[in-house]
Structures are given as structure tokens and as C-alpha cells.
């Protein structure tokens, strides 16, 4: 097993060392620009990331980070609503945006010759957004439809919303990204405008470009576009740390469905110090051993072996601004209960606590990590997302390789140690979907009268 690693590692090193890449600069106004040259095709990905996400919102205006993301397509002093989309489309490109708990990001994928225009337009809306009541009144309806589609009519989404709301009582991760429907109903364009003025400034943003570009030319363009924007001070951020959980929490969601669904979340450490930390890497390896690939324990033991699970998953994301959780989830097969599935998931954890993990399993994690890195280079968007994502968590793109190296260095003892240390019931929140036959569920009435 371990012998195989040598040629694989050599291959990774050989292909990566060919380029002194990415490149980075910081403009006078504080905006950082990161460029990764990838000359395989005449295209480019351009992204702007703002360090402002749902976790920066206040009670009463949940969802405003995401609403503002929608409003960013509604015109500036220089361009009418929808014009940005039109220019991207005519350049042969596509564009979109996404909001997370930690950040809001905008991107265009375009033929490389269109990059200067994209940078001009993105810089324009960083400073010159025209936010009107009229556009807002239309768009907030769209966002409410989005919430109905993603959450209200999606039982597993409702369970995840309930899970986070129960697990955190002080930390802002308790609020959903899309916002509570009632907050959306009562939001006004001034809430969105205030959000924009508070957080959208060059010193709270960074630009990521990946593609067939010369980094020096991109730096010049950035200075001529983004460089003209004056920065302003940011609002203070409070830590809002979650107090220690004093005991298990359980919540139930009733919604139209056939199979029940179970999600179990333990509070665990996140990655803070890339060099000094060990536990976050061990938790990452634990998640991979349980559910990282088709031969991992959950598929092998719970879906194929004991056949108790219709599906079963394990996830840990330690690269984030807020607080981390280790989440197990799944659906029992017909005839089995959530209680039986919960017991089976706990038994899998216990096996790691008692017996640890095998050298073969660790070797697989390493091979998977290396292969994923090679495969990721087939996609410019995946590379841009990787850079943007790690920066959003407060780390540096230079840490990407370090993280992978650390994961490859995790020992069986370390995996067993985190499994023993963090998975106790006091830090656990369990959310369950209690399925209602659709013919017994009634259409829910809108919470509030329709806006005027």
C-alpha cells in the first residue's frame, strides 16, 4: 500500500513545480488580488469574495447578505439593472453568485479577452450600486420563492435548518443563510442598502482570477479598476462564541415525506493554526474513513453490509470563520427506525474509539487526497473555489498544499484520539424528520399577508 505512494507523490510534485503559481498583490486600498495562471484553454474565471456572510447578520434581518447578493445584479450609477448579465452573456460567458454563512462571492467565467470588461463591471458594483425600493420590491419576492423551493418544500433542508438553530443558541450560525421567512417579509430596501454600505469595501474583499492570463496584466487591470475605489472602515465584529453545551439536544421536524431522516451534529474544533493544529486534520481523516469514498465504512458496513441504511454520510468542515461541527446523517431502509440507524451510526463511531483505524484505511485517505489534487487541475472553477474558500476562512492560499501535507501526516492514533475525545452526548444535537404522508399534510398558510 505505502509503496504505491512514492510514484504518486513524485507525479504530483513534478506536475506542480512546473509553475511558480499563483501570484498575489495587494492594492493601496487594501484589496488583495490572487492570480493563478492556467494556460490550457483561452478562458478565465474571475471571482470577487466579500468577507461578509449570513454570520454577520443581526436578528430581524436574517437573509440580508443573500438578498443583497441578488440586488447586486440590479444596476449601478453607470449600468441599468440586468445589464451586467447581458454583457456577460454577449461575451459568451456565464455569471452567478453565492452566499454562505461566512462570505458572499460573485463570479464570471468568460473567454479570456473579456476579463478586463468583467473587472471593470465588478469594480463598478463594488462601489456604485443603485439600490432602489422598486427593484427591491420585485426581488424580495424572488428570494421568498427561492426559500419556498429550497427550504419550505424540502424536508431535509428543514431538518438542517432545525439542526443548526438547535445546536447554536448564541453563535450566529443558528440563523439560516436564506433567512427566516418572517424576516424576509419585513425586510426593506434600506436593510439591504445598509448592508452594502457596511461591508462592501475593497479592504473586506479579494479577487481571484484563474485562467489563461498574465498575472502582471491582471494586476495592472486591478489597479485601474478596483484600485480607484476608496476604502472605508468596517463595522466591529463581536466573537459571539457559543457557550459550552451542557447536554444533548433533540429536535423533530414533521413534513411530507416517506422515509425518515436523521442528522447528528457534534461540536468539534475547527482549524485555527495551520502549522500547530493536529486535531482538525485527524477529524478530516475520520470523516474520510467513515464516508470519503465508495469503500469507506458507512457504505461498506451500513448500506451494503448490515443493510440498515438507505443512505449514510459523515462530514466535517474545519475551514470556516465560525464554529465547526462533525455531522453524521442518513435515512434508515424501509422497516428500520431512526433509533436503529442512530444506534448503528454510534456503533461505527465506537468501533473507531475502541479499535482505531487500519493502515490500509489511512493509506486510502492519502491516495484519495493526492488523486483529488491532480483531478482538480482539470477545472479552473474548482481551482478558483479552492483559493477563495481557504482565504474566506482566514487562512492563505499558500496553506492549500500545507493542509494536504498535514492530512497525509495524520496517524491512526490521532484519529482514534479525536474519536474518543469529541463524540460525547453533551456536545451532540440530533434532528429527525418525522415523515407525514402528503395526503395528510395541509398546505401551510402564508405566515403574513402578501406584501404591497
Amino acid at each position: 500500500m505505502t509503496k504505491k505512494l512514492v510514484p504518486l507523490l513524485a507525479l504530483l510534485a513534478a506536475s506542480a513545480s512546473a509553475l511558480a503559481n499563483p501570484f498575489e498583490t495587494t492594492l493601496a486600498n487594501g484589496l488583495r488580488v490572487i492570480v493563478k495562471e492556467d494556460r490550457r484553454a483561452p478562458t478565465a474565471v474571475h471571482m470577487v469574495w466579500y468577507r461578509a456572510g449570513a454570520m454577520d447578520e443581526k436578528d430581524g434581518t436574517s437573509g440580508v447578505a443573500h438578498v443583497l447578493e441578488h440586488m447586486m445584479f440590479k444596476g449601478t450609477k453607470h449600468h441599468a439593472a440586468g445589464e451586467f448579465n447581458k454583457i456577460v452573456a454577449e461575451a459568451g460567458g456565464r455569471d452567478n453568485a453565492f452566499t454562505s454563512l461566512d462570505y458572499t462571492a460573485y463570479f464570471q467565467i468568460v473567454p479570456n479577452r473579456a476579463l478586463p470588461r468583467m473587472m471593470e463591471l465588478e469594480a463598478d458594483r463594488m462601489a456604485n450600486l443603485q439600490l432602489t425600493a422598486k427593484e427591491f420590491e420585485q426581488e424580495i419576492k424572488v428570494v421568498m420563492e427561492e426559500r419556498r423551493m429550497r427550504t419550505e418544500d424540502n424536508p431535509q433542508s428543514l431538518v438542517h435548518e432545525a439542526l443548526y438553530a438547535a445546536a447554536f443558541k448564541a453563535h450566529p450560525y443558528r440563523r439560516p443563510i436564506i433567512g427566516w421567512m418572517d424576516d424576509l417579509e419585513h425586510m426593506s430596501y434600506t436593510d439591504a442598502r445598509d448592508w452594502y454600505h457596511a461591508w462592501y469595501t475593497p479592504s473586506n474583499a479579494y479577487v481571484v482570477v484563474v485562467g489563461d492570463v498574465d498575472h502582471r496584466a491582471v494586476f495592472d487591470l486591478a489597479a485601474k479598476t478596483y484600485g480607484r475605489i476608496k476604502p472605508h472602515a468596517l463595522p466591529g465584529r463581536k466573537p459571539q462564541n457559543e457557550p459550552e453545551q451542557p447536554g444533548i439536544k433533540r429536535v423533530t421536524v414533521k413534513a411530507p415525506a416517506k422515509l425518515p431522516y436523521l442528522a447528528m451534529a457534534w461540536k468539534v474544533p475547527k482549524l485555527k493554526d495551520v502549522d500547530a493544529d493536529r486535531e482538525p486534520y485527524a477529524l478530516e481523516v475520520l470523516a474520510t474513513v467513515l464516508d470519503g469514498h465508495d469503500a469507506a465504512r458507512f457504505s461498506k458496513n451500513l448500506v451494503r453490509g448490515s443493510k440498515i441504511a438507505q443512505s449514510a454520510g459523515a462530514g466535517y468542515d474545519g475551514t470556516l470563520r465560525g464554529e465547526a461541527m462533525f455531522i453524521l446523517d442518513g435515512q434508515p431502509v424501509e422497516g428500520k427506525t431512526v433509533a436503529e440507524l442512530e444506534a448503528a451510526l454510534r456503533a461505527e463511531l465506537k468501533r473507531v474509539q475502541d479499535e482505531g483505524v487500519s493502515p490500509e484505511e489511512l493509506a486510502r485517505v492519502k491516495i484519495q487526497t493526492i488523486a483529488s489534487q491532480v483531478y482538480k487541475r482539470d477545472s479552473m472553477m474548482a481551482q478558483a473555489m479552492e483559493i477563495g474558500g481557504i482565504e474566506a476562512a482566514g487562512h492563505k492560499w499558500q496553506d492549500i498544499d500545507k493542509l494536504l501535507e498535514k492530512i497525509r501526516g495524520v496517524t491512526a492514533e490521532e484519529v482514534q484520539a479525536v474519536a474518543r475525545k469529541y463524540f460525547n452526548d453533551d456536545a451532540l444535537t440530533v434532528a429527525v424528520l418525522d415523515p407525514l404522508p402528503p395526503d395528510q399534510a395541509k398546505p401551510r398558510k402564508p405566515a403574513v399577508a402578501v406584501r404591497h
Partner: protein, 428 residues
């Protein structure tokens, strides 16, 4: 939390000018091979697709095509499913399958280094040619499939998709979805027979892109297909019968109505392909700039997602408009959609709209072939639907040649109001 899910918007395959150099040959086994050589990344992508989609299964056992495909790697040669999955993981390789109405197949991504590549390709060969379809795995997977069907039948989006397919393809395999009963009827013999009949070299397209030479690709293609079963003679698929205009309403407690409007429309090799692709971009395929998006979402806030697409198949694949909207306003939203469609059918796109659509489709070609994974998809489609090898190179000229009148005429031929079916799930 994406602003829009763009992936669903354009199911039309579109491609690029000055495409990659595609090499084509027929392997001694009889399989058609399509190959692009590129050494920039140390990876190899291979897919093997067969005329083995749902249309080739027995009518009373819908689901047999999907189960056959799903169980290929659940035991093959002298390997059981645990051996196959752990071997792949140990090699750092990824194997995945896909099955639709027309085709089914497996694809493999592997590092191109000799030892890994050879072992991964050997696994793919075994899985394709010598699946064992173990009874115990079939029992388990049937139970999971049935549970999945029961679950899907509670969700408004799946109910709407199934009812729409059934309504626009009455009595045709294109409209059939697996049911609890049809899956229960499937036995191991059905999988064995389906594999023996359909997973044959002469029904196969092998697509290869990556870090190997032409000579190596020839060996790979032959090895992957030489041990496949002989297969049966070609069967003709029953022609599509056009539906009669109708509205189907299905009760459901969801907060949003799920609405589909459409009809069977176009076969992949139809010469109207380019005119419909352009017209649909203007109507509802062009993301934020389409007419449906403007009228339904941007002007009225009726929906988060509204789109139209043509999904060409061997025979007439569907044209569909879809949206979800708060149930109280479903009628109002449908009225807007019908007005937009009616106006488009009557007048076609404007010259300006057509020019913008051409710019997007032609200039955007580079984006659609900027990775090995994307090009692999084109190789497979070119092979399976018998498109010219110069398909990617010809694309800009074909697009540029289309006129407003041709778009209008193509829509008149392929989207006829008297055949349009409307399905509304969670209707008031």
C-alpha cells in the same frame, strides 16, 4: 446559495470553434472509438456508452436498464463488490455510471501513470464484460430502489417530472418511469439478459481523452470491448406519438406549484437543431437574459427559477418550460408563460435577440471545451448520435447561418400548441 441553478438551463449540447483534434476508428471488436490526445495533465478519462437506455428494456419491467447499469460494478469476474470498490480507491481512480432513455455506460478517471492506469482499465474491462449480478446484491438494491421511488413519489418536483413525461409520451417508453410494481417484477435473469443483449461492442462508443498515445488508445479501446457479449440484432424503437393538448393537475400540500409545459419536439440529428438551440436561448435557455426570465422573474417576481429547454434524443426528445411558484399565483404565472411562448411562436426572436444569442453561443464555445471532462462528453455524444467528427469545428458557421425566419419556422415545426401538455403539481 446560488442565485440561479444554471446547469439545468441548457440541456442542448453546444460546442466550440477550432475544437480539439478528434481521432476516430472502429476497433477490431466493432466498437466505435473517439480519441483526443493531450498530455498537459497526467490523467486519463475513458467512457464506454451503449445503446442500453430505458427504451431497450421490457415494458412491464421499467427499471431494468438502470439496475443493470447500477449492478455492473457490484460483482464482476471473480471480484465481489467490496473488492471492486476498494481496488478503485487504492488506485485513486473514479468510476461512475450513467443511464438515460437512450444510453447507459460507465466512465473512468484515472491517473495516467502506467501501473495505476493499467489496473484501473482492467477493472473497467471486467465490470463491463463480466458482471455477475449477485442475487443478494440485487435483492438489496431492489429494496433501495423501491424505497427511493416511494420517497420520490412524495416530492412535488419528482411527481411533476414523472407525470410530465408520462403525459407527453403516452404509451411510449420515453414516458415510462420505474414503479414499485415494475421493479418488484425484475429478477436476476432480466439483468443477465439485458446485459447480454445490449452491452455489445457493436452497440458501444468508446471515448478516450488524456495522457496516452494513439497506439495506446487503440490497445485500450480493443481491450475494453473485445470480451463484451455479442448482443442482439438492432431493434427498432416504436415511433413517438404526439399527445393531445391537455392540463393535468395533481394535489399536493407543497407551498409552491411545480409547473411543466411542453411536448415531444426534436431528435438529435434533426437539421433544425441549431435554429431551435438559438431560439430557445432567447425564449428561456439564456439564463438571466431570456424572455421567460425577464417576464416571470425579473418583472413580476413570480419565480426563482424559470427555464425552457430542448433535450434532443434518438427520437423526438422533449421541449419543456418549467417553473415553481407560490401556489396562490400559479394561474397568473402560467398566463404569463403562455403569453411569452405565444408571442415567440407568432413572431420569433428579434434580429437583435438573435444576434445576442449567436454571440453567446459562438464566443462561449471555448468555455464548453476547456477541460478534459467536458470534451469527453462531446466525444460520447458525437459517437452515440453519429454527429460529424467536425461537429465542434463546424458549430460557429452553423450557428451564424441561422436567420430569424428559420428560427420561427423551426419552432412552428417542432412546438405546436395543439400538442402542448401542462402539468401542475400542488395546484389550488
Amino acid at each position: 446559495m446560488k442565485k440561479m441553478l444554471l446547469a439545468v438551463l441548457v440541456l442542448f449540447a453546444a460546442a466550440a470553434h477550432a475544437g480539439p483534434k478528434i481521432e476516430h476508428w472502429v476497433a477490431p471488436s466493432g466498437a466505435k472509438v473517439y480519441f483526443v490526445e493531450t498530455h498537459v495533465l497526467p490523467i486519463l478519462d475513458v467512457s464506454v456508452d451503449f445503446a442500453a437506455g430505458t427504451v431497450f428494456g421490457p415494458a412491464d419491467k421499467t427499471g431494468v436498464a438502470g439496475l443493470t447499469r447500477a449492478l455492473l460494478d457490484a460483482g464482476a469476474g471473480d471480484l465481489d463488490e467490496e473488492h471492486i470498490s476498494s481496488k478503485l480507491v487504492d488506485l485513486g481512480a473514479r468510476m461512475s455510471g450513467s443511464a438515460d432513455a437512450d444510453r447507459a455506460g460507465m466512465s473512468l478517471r484515472t491517473l495516467s501513470s502506467q501501473a495505476e492506469r493499467a489496473a484501473a482499465l482492467d477493472l473497467l474491462r471486467t465490470v463491463l464484460a463480466a458482471p455477475t449480478f449477485p442475487e443478494s446484491v440485487l435483492t438489496r438494491e431492489k429494496a433501495r430502489t423501491i424505497a427511493g421511488i416511494r420517497e420520490a413519489d412524495t416530492r412535488p418536483d419528482s411527481i411533476a417530472a414523472k407525470r410530465f413525461a408520462a403525459a407527453i409520451y403516452p404509451g411510449h417508453a420515453y414516458g415510462a418511469s420505474a414503479t414499485v410494481e415494475s421493479v418488484e417484477r425484475i429478477g436476476r435473469d432480466d439483468l443477465v439478459a439485458f446485459h447480454r443483449d445490449n452491452y455489445a461492442a457493436k452497440r458501444a462508443v468508446v471515448s478516450i481523452i488524456g495522457d496516452v498515445s494513439r497506439a495506446e488508445a487503440e490497445t485500450i479501446a480493443q481491450r475494453l470491448t473485445e470480451a463484451l457479449p455479442a448482443g442482439r440484432p438492432d431493434v427498432t424503437i416504436a415511433p413517438v406519438v404526439m399527445p393531445v393538448r391537455a392540463t393535468v393537475k395533481v394535489a399536493h400540500p407543497a407551498t409552491q406549484s411545480h409547473i411543466h409545459i411542453g411536448a415531444p419536439a426534436i431528435a438529435r440529428t434533426d437539421p433544425d437543431y441549431y435554429a431551435l438551440l438559438l431560439g430557445n436561448y432567447v425564449l428561456g435557455g439564456g439564463g438571466f437574459v431570456s424572455r421567460l426570465m425577464q417576464e416571470v422573474r425579473e418583472k413580476r417576481g413570480y419565480a426563482y427559477s424559470v427555464y425552457s429547454y430542448f433535450s434532443p434524443r434518438k427520437l423526438e426528445g422533449p421541449f419543456e418550460i418549467g417553473l415553481q411558484t407560490k401556489r396562490e399565483q400559479a394561474d397568473a404565472a402560467i398566463k404569463v408563460v403562455e403569453e411569452v411562448l405565444g408571442d415567440f411562436l407568432a413572431k420569433g426572436p428579434t434580429e437583435k435577440e438573435l444576434a445576442a444569442a449567436k454571440k453567446n453561443l459562438v464566443d462561449g464555445l471555448a468555455l464548453r471545451i476547456d477541460s478534459n471532462a467536458k470534451i469527453l462528453g462531446y466525444l460520447s455524444a458525437i459517437g452515440f448520435y453519429g454527429l460529424p467528427l467536425t461537429y465542434l469545428d463546424d458549430f460557429p458557421a452553423k450557428i451564424d447561418a441561422v436567420t430569424v425566419e428559420q428560427v420561427k419556422a423551426a419552432f412552428a415545426r417542432h412546438v405546436k400548441p395543439e400538442h402542448l401538455v401542462t402539468v401542475i403539481v400542488a395546484a389550488d
